[in-house]
């Protein structure tokens, strides 16, 4: 089991640590609801040292990346980033990631912890002469600082280092990387620094009033905003068009990308399933990953929840599920099977919040 450079700090804070993607990570400190609310109302800090970081550079790297990723790399200017996906030949999602252009032929990628090895193997297999691929995941610790007070607190801590614009990246003279991104739907940034230095940032942020938050709150925060989680809402059996991520797929860009043919076909003929948002319509146990989604009668299975939780902000159960397009329209009544009963739910417009 891999350990974060912040491991001893988590233990001192009384975090509950559980395995996640091969890492022993904090699921919660005080409790998911309190942590969730801190991020919505003020400021939270998450350890994201488990996430993967790649640096790719060299002549022709822009065109090479554009032939692998779904978004249009050529839209980026220096210091800008974009959400994008790596697909297999069948158009299924291998990983979703953020790509940052640091310079004309130099890109920083932040990928999911569970996919580091698979992404690396995929990219290396497609490597071209002149392009240098570096997996730097073991060298970086990371923090996600999220909440409406992010900017204010950062400007107090480091008045000399301005935060980049939305989705942007900035590498400080000391070698820390700041990215104006996150996974909660609140303003905030992600900070990467060496394993030796990341702990000090964590200490400074806690001292400035940020609440330590675990992966439990990270999950409820992202679900309320309908941000997909790879391995749950995204997988190699579903395309980004089915997942509702068409905005991040550029079918007319200069370089054709892996999986494009399948997506063009879906664009032409329509998709056979859509990732829908569902909300419980009455008092019920929290819906959870893997629960059966049935029609209104409760008799016929339509799918399985890919994500589900009580929404701390809304006080009601929410989830996501791949449904046939005719069942995926907002307002469609459904039921969710929980243990030996079914509970009413309906399809709602994304996001929940």
């Amino acid at each position: 089991m891999l350990r974060s450079p912040l491991h001893s700090r988590h233990e001192e804070l009384g975090a509950r640590l559980l395995p996640f993607a091969g890492w022993e990570m904090p699921i919660q400190y005080d409790g998911i609801v309190a942590e969730h609310q801190a991020v919505r109302d003020e400021l939270g800090v998450f350890d994201i040292s488990h996430m993967g970081e790649f640096l790719v550079s060299g002549k022709g790297v822009t065109g090479w990346l554009n032939g692998i990723l779904t978004n249009d790399v050529r839209e980026l200017e220096d210091g800008q980033g974009q959400y994008t996906l790596i697909l297999n030949e069948a158009g299924g999602v291998i990983d979703d990631l953020i790509l940052y252009r640091e310079a004309e032929e130099r890109y920083f990628l932040v990928v999911n912890a569970s996919k580091i090895e698979q992404d690396e193997a995929w990219l290396k297999r497609k490597l071209r002469d002149g392009i240098v691929f570096e997996n730097q995941s073991a060298e970086w610790g990371g923090l996600a600082v999220q909440g409406p007070k992010s900017t204010e607190i950062w400007n107090q801590l480091e008045p000399e280092i301005p935060l980049p614009n939305r989705n942007g990246i900035f590498r400080s003279n000391s070698g820390a990387i700041l990215c104006r991104t996150g996974y909660t739907g609140e303003d905030g940034f992600e900070l990467f620094d060496t394993n030796a230095r990341i702990g000090e940032w964590f200490d400074h942020l806690l001292a400035a009033g940020a609440k330590p938050c675990g992966l439990g709150a990270r999950d409820t925060l992202r679900l309320e905003k309908c941000y997909p989680l790879n391995g749950s809402d995204l997988d190699e059996e579903h395309t980004p068009l089915e997942a509702g991520l068409g905005f991040f797929v550029k079918l007319a860009k200069a370089e054709p990308f892996v999986g494009q043919d399948v997506l063009l076909g879906q664009k032409e003929n329509g998709v056979s399933s859509k990732l829908a948002a569902i909300k419980m319509t009455g008092k019920s146990p929290p819906p959870r990953h893997g629960y059966e989604v049935r029609d209104e009668s409760g008799e016929n299975q339509l799918g399985e929840l890919t994500s589900g939780s009580l929404s701390p902000s809304l006080g009601v159960g929410i989830g996501m599920v791949y449904l046939a397009p005719e069942s995926a329209k907002p307002g469609t009544p459904l039921t969710i099977a929980i243990r030996d009963r079914v509970f009413p739910a309906e399809v709602v417009k994304k996001p929940f919040l």
């Binding site: 699921i27 919660q28 998911i32 609801v33 409820t220 019920s284 146990p285 929290p286 009580l310 243990r339």
Partner: protein, 126 residues
């Protein structure tokens, strides 16, 4: 951590009041509620159901997970804390008081001897 002296405790962190075997109150311990945090839903059995010691008879749900609750003694469920269906917060706030779950008419009081007393339960969770 609060472990009242007069109660008996199961390995799986339920408590039972041994002093009134006809209507023995059952709940989950302070340790259990602290581990769960944020109880958001309680599923309780019907009055009249007969349970066997060790049988899963209720479900407590936190934001993160659903957890079974096991009967600390065999018997008939004679009363259920209906208020928890609407608002489960007392399970966290007052696990030995307003957060009680059910009352059981104990069928075999000798079963209680295999449960922890307060001292032994404190060791169990330390």
């Amino acid at each position: 951590m609060n472990v009242p002296d007069h109660l008996r405790y199961a390995d799986s962190h339920e408590w039972i009041d041994p002093d009134s075997p006809e209507t023995a109150t059952v709940g989950i311990s302070d340790h259990a509620q602290a581990e769960l945090t944020d109880v958001v839903y309680m599923e309780l059995p019907e009055v009249g159901r007969t349970v066997t010691k060790g049988e899963a008879f209720a479900v407590v749900e936190s934001v993160k997970a659903a957890n079974d609750i096991y009967a600390p003694a065999s018997g008939e469920i004679v009363e259920v804390n209906e208020a928890l269906a609407e608002a489960p917060e007392p399970v966290n706030e007052d696990p030995y008081g307003a957060g009680w779950l059910v009352k059981i008419k104990i069928s075999d009081p000798s079963e209680l001897e295999s449960l922890h007393d307060a001292g032994s339960y404190r060791e169990h969770v330390s």
